[in-house]
Amino acid sequence: MCNLVSIAKRVGAPRIVTTRGIPYPAGDPSLGPADEKAWRRRLVTKALQVVATPVTAPTVFEVDEHGQ
């Protein structure tokens, strides 16, 4: 779960979920507390789906803006 996905791909991380900023991989301080926690929940929920998804090479997954 990171923001610099090009580096994650290059070092061979098989499953990559895009986050919103380098200093807060599991947050987004531009949101209010409740919205930020909701974003984090979508991110972790996505990550759980991703570890249950087969991949053969470094693959980037995006969290859908609405829902998961």
Partner: protein, 343 residues
């Protein structure tokens, strides 16, 4: 006629500020600044650093239009040569330097970047040459000697080679050798038998091939760990995790906790502003929502502790060792999946 140089630096080496200024957008100054002053001296009167263009590291690497904006400032100064760095092992700065010289090269300008061979940004320089720097700013003097020699060479239109400390991808070069391939191959075999493990005519990329783990069948039945390289530790950093060039990883218990409380945990990472991490450590380690998902049954069980290190100028050898040790340890404890946040 003097050779006009535009020098790209980050906010730190321009003297604008540290991590608090990493979000600074692209801007310019007349003449050389910071390391550019020494570089200009080394290059002598045939060269002139006409403009220094700088940008904060976060802005440069996370704003989609950043390179375009930086290039606009560079082109305005009508350079003969674009020089970026030295970025040493700084990941974001290296990435920015690499993207700037790649864009300059694409635009038909002569461009060169300078960074350590372990810098994760190295490969994004594309076809533009990159000359080696030392690991940290402590090697500034030797690094600038190296860079000045390389700048003079590329400005003269000569190719930069491994002999000039070029690092990264080197485009294929055709030349006629007076010894045939069989003779050269035998020499390489003899060199290898003599203990030289580096001699080659075909350098291979160093990057790992990682075999992806099989997917989890069902996260709602799995034991899942949360990990970070964001250097999140108890507030007093009891085990002395390094803020850069980490030599170790650490683990701390999560039992009985449903959130990472501010004031009790903090990030000691030296590679980004930790203001947001310390305001709410769940931004680094998402324990609060992971616990919710566990209590709702979406995660079978959360592992009882988290693992942490600082991914900041960390050597590839150490990073690889941490990864191997983490996987070994997690497997031993029956963990089936790990979610790692990376800054």
């Amino acid at each position: 006629m003097t050779t006009r140089i535009v020098h790209y630096l980050n906010q730190f080496f321009t003297g604008v500020g540290g991590e608090d200024s990493a979000g600074t957008g692209p801007a310019r100054r007349d003449g050389p600044v910071g390391p550019g002053t020494r570089l200009a001296q080394l290059l002598g009167p045939e060269f002139e650093i006409v403009t220094t263009v700088y940008c904060g590291d976060d802005y440069a690497t996370t704003t989609p239009t950043a390179v375009q904006e930086i290039m606009a400032l560079i082109k305005e100064a009508q350079p003969d040569v674009v020089v970026a760095g030295p970025a040493f092992t700084s990941g974001r700065y290296g990435l920015a330097c690499a993207r700037v010289v790649a864009a300059a090269h694409e635009a038909g300008l002569t461009a060169i970047a300078c960074m350590h061979t372990d810098n994760p940004g190295l490969d994004e320089a594309g076809a533009a040459p990159v000359v080696a720097s030392g690991e940290t700013g402590r090697t500034m003097k030797e690094t600038l000697d190296n860079l000045a020699a390389a700048v003079a060479k590329v400005a003269a239109g000569e190719p930069l080679t491994r002999a000039d400390d070029r690092v990264g991808k080197v485009p294929r070069l055709n030349r006629l050798d007076d010894r045939n391939s069989a003779e050269r191959a035998v020499d390489l075999v003899l060199a290898r038998l003599g203990g030289d493990r580096r001699a080659t005519e075909v350098p291979l990329p160093k990057f790992d091939q990682v075999t992806p783990a099989s997917p989890l069948e069902d996260p709602s039945k799995a034991l899942v760990a949360i990990l970070t390289e964001g250097a999140l530790v108890p507030d007093d950093n009891p085990d002395g995790l390094e803020s850069a060039r980490a030599t170790k990883w650490l683990r701390y218990p999560l039992e009985g906790m449903d959130s990472m409380p501010a004031g009790e945990y903090r990030s000691v990472h030296g590679g980004f502003s930790t203001v947001w991490a310390n305001e709410d450590p769940n931004r680094i380690l998402p324990l609060d929502v992971a616990r919710q998902l566990e209590s709702e049954g979406a995660i079978g069980q959360l592992h009882r502790e988290y693992m942490t290190t600082a991914g900041n100028g960390t050597s590839v050898a150490n990073a690889r060792r941490f990864g191997v040790e983490w996987v070994g340890e997690l497997r031993r404890l029956g963990v089936q999946a790990a979610l790692l946040t990376a800054t």
